[in-house]
Subunit: 206 residues, 2 copies
């Protein structure tokens, strides 16, 4: 792409560094910004710079936070004794959006995946074990993606916590709402049959 | 979406204002930026703010520019007497990328489209007529998209320039390279037959 302006070229190149954004999309976004008020574009640029400069990771659960301890960990109405273990921050946001979980989180920062060179030491597993030991945690809920890496991580952490008096559970695998039995893969369907639940439990909201 | 951080939320909301970017994509982009070096994110944010603040439109051809007059208009090796009329800046970039055109441009800023409320007065048509009158332009090449609005604009400007000693042409419509006759629409195929060209001309590079 040939540009008549270096300013334009720089902005396009910066946008094109973002994942999933090519040169043509980047150009479209930049031309959109050119049409906006200077004040609005400034606000956009400021929001990003400030976010990167001031954002922190919660010392407790490794969630993204404005302060040393995140809003969820500091909230007195959340049950500290139930910890939901997730892979990343996106999963925290997804679970929070359901408004069904009133415990706290622990963000691993990934899952064990030897093929990608990710071992237990790269993840926040030690801090989790420390938390469970010190905080009298009653339940750990694993909310990891249902794949080999997720299951390996559950197995690894499960063994680490074996000696401690903590209940270990995982979110249910099964047929998703709106899904159809006919098109479900065998693995999911098999799991949903072997982990069947009493109907009373199914119809009672938690 | 529920966020545990206001900084994160602001950045996501700002990204989500861009065209074609929803909340989920915005979150993915912001989480990507969080993982980058602070210096790089600063550079990203600066490039956008500076671009919006300092970018200008060329006084001559209305192309995007760093200075009062754009690089193309100021270039002494470009033929000032041939003006290529385009709808917007993206079209200038597309034509420049072919490296086949050595004249100058005129960016209309849109095409005549009564349904969208765009009349001739909203476009840079008067400045074009003035340019052609004052600069002894020898040829105007219309490079507009092949649709009703484009053709209306060509017709309108063509009438305005009727009295002036300027050759008026339009880029060829026809079967695109890699396209197949069988799947071409009738309109394009018909145009490509009625505007057929001698083979000598076809195989000689311009």
């Amino acid at each position: 792409m040939t540009f008549s302006s270096t300013l334009l070229e720089n902005a396009v190149n910066e946008f094109a560094k973002l994942p999933g954004i090519g040169k043509k999309t980047a150009l479209r976004l930049v031309l959109h910004l050119i049409k906006q008020d200077a004040a609005e574009v400034n606000y956009f640029s400021e929001a990003i710079a400030t976010m990167r400069k001031e954002i922190k990771f919660c010392k407790h659960c490794f969630n993204i936070s404005d302060k040393e301890i995140c809003n969820i960990c500091i909230n007195p109405s959340r049950k500290k004794e139930i910890i939901c273990v997730v892979e990343n921050i996106r999963d925290v946001i997804a679970i929070e959006s359901t408004q069904q979980f009133n415990g706290v989180y622990h963000v691993l920062g990934g899952v064990i995946s030897p093929l990608d060179g990710v071992g237990p030491d790269q993840l926040n597993i030690e801090p989790l074990v420390k938390r469970v030991t010190e905080e009298k945690t009653s339940e750990i809920i694993f909310a990891l993606n249902p794949n080999i890496q997720g299951d390996t991580t559950i197995y690894y952490i499960g063994r680490k916590l074996k000696e401690l008096p903590v209940k270990i559970t995982t979110i249910a695998r099964g047929i998703a709402f709106g899904g159809e039995l006919e098109y479900a893969d065998e693995m999911t369907l098999a799991k949903s049959i072997s982990n069947r639940i009493p109907v009373e439990q199914y119809i009672t909201p938690v």
